[in-house]
């Protein structure tokens, strides 16, 4: 069990948590014993159960500690299976969390939710403004993970989190795929899961960058023009992916853009393939603008190189409202696993609704 703090009232408890560096700078819900136990009970798991180790502080993430973060973030107890899955993903060695937290790059873990848990453990928004304010599950689940990274992983700005600027997604960064609006099979099925599975995919990435494309159903080159626009937004010589020639990135297609690609006969795989081709960049630019990193091609300066090692390193999902925009999120591309995405199946079999507590 964790140690307890004492305070005369919730207002003073909040100031104490701020002073101890246990918050993200915003007010938190005070994690009283009753509230934390409620979340642990709802998870159906033992509070002492270890979910993993979070770097760079190498703190042990138990269900109890994660429940504490979930309470502080404002989660309903219903969200616990998603928070737990996100923490498990962050703790996987291939996520390289210690390096991700410590880097000077702005990267933040984006939580993507697929499958039935979008509703049963949410609802996690996938439509208009899914990455913006107003969606409790998106806001608090992402924030719960961040509070775990701070209080269990020890990621504190300027001390152990050396991001030069950070980005607003470091407060919270979570959305669901709009599977019902997508013309393609859900993203998690391309990652080896069944459609009926609930899956959390974690990708350390930059803030979303909007890509405008005004489509035209009469234009036979509509899909190709859209893919070109997306590739320009996704990768240029200012991005880590282009300079390191590694890492992954996310293309979050708006449903309208997804349908432009689908009606031209594209599949998820063919979109990834074409985007990979279009994100081949000039070696001459890498040499000229890549600084110390630009040495990679000096002995062979002709032609192009791929910014992404394989097409599958460009993740593709569908979310957002209906309009002329899609989003792209490049990433860092560093550490031993080159900033890979990690997916974890959501386990909600043990989840218990607590009678009389209304899920809050």
């Amino acid at each position: 069990m964790s140690d307890f703090l004492d305070a005369e009232n919730e207002e003073m408890a909040l100031e104490q948590l701020h002073d101890m560096g246990c918050t993200d700078g915003l007010p938190v819900v005070i994690p009283t014993q009753e509230r934390v136990i409620r979340c642990i009970l709802a998870s159906g798991l033992d509070g002492d159960m270890v979910l993993g180790e979070l770097g760079p502080g190498m703190g042990i993430a138990t269900v109890e500690k994660v429940a504490t973060a979930a309470v502080m973030a404002g989660c309903k107890s219903d969200y616990m299976p998603l928070v737990i899955a996100a923490v498990k993903a962050a703790a996987k060695p291939e996520f390289d969390l210690a390096e991700l937290q410590a880097t000077t790059h702005c990267t933040a873990p984006l939580i993507i939710v697929n499958g039935p848990a979008r509703e049963t453990c949410g609802p996690v928004a996938s439509g208009y403004g899914a990455l913006g304010p107003g969606h409790r599950a998106n806001a608090s689940i992402g924030r719960a993970l961040r509070l775990c990274l701070i209080n269990i992983g020890g990621g504190r700005p300027g001390i152990s989190d050396m991001a030069i600027h950070g980005h607003p997604g470091k407060f919270t960064y979570c959305l669901a795929e709009a599977e019902e609006e997508s013309p393609f099979p859900p993203m998690h099925t391309s990652l080896g899961f069944d459609k009926s599975d609930s899956v959390v995919t974690l990708l350390g990435c930059e803030a979303p960058h909007s890509c405008l494309y005004s489509d035209n159903a009469d234009d036979p080159e509509d899909a190709e023009k859209l893919l070109k626009i997306l590739s320009v937004g996704l990768t240029n010589i200012a991005t880590n992916n282009a300079v390191f020639a590694s890492g992954m990135a996310l293309v979050c297609l708006g449903p309208k853009h997804a349908n432009v690609l689908a009606r031209s006969g594209h599949s998820r795989e063919s979109i990834q393939q074409r985007l990979w081709e279009l994100t081949h960049l000039l070696k001459a630019d890498h040499i000229r603008y890549g600084g110390e990193f630009g040495k990679a091609f000096r002995d062979n300066p002709e032609g192009t190189y791929p910014a992404f090692k394989v097409p599958q390193h460009i993740l593709l999902m569908v979310a957002g409202g209906i309009g002329l925009y899609s989003m792209v999120m490049p990433n860092w591309g560093g550490a031993g696993h080159q900033n890979s995405a990690v997916s974890v199946q959501v386990e909600s079999d043990f989840f218990c609704a607590i009678p009389g507590l209304g899920g809050a």
Partner: protein, 60 residues
């Protein structure tokens, strides 16, 4: 082993060393930033810390 750590990353180095169970790992402090200074300035920095590096090895 001696870690070379720039001034701005000194606290981070301490944090990571402690969390990895190596709180006393030898470290030498460099000015910040080092990247992009050009060879001439790098050589000046190198000259200013070489003795500290050798001493750190000697004390291991």
């Amino acid at each position: 082993m001696v870690s070379l750590i720039t001034e701005d990353f000194w606290d981070q180095g301490q944090f990571v060393a402690k969390s990895l169970g190596m709180p006393n790992v030898p470290r030498v402090k460099l000015p910040h930033p080092v990247a992009g200074l050009g060879e001439a300035k790098i050589e000046i920095i190198a000259a200013s810390i070489i003795e500290d590096i050798i001493n750190s090895f000697a004390n291991e």
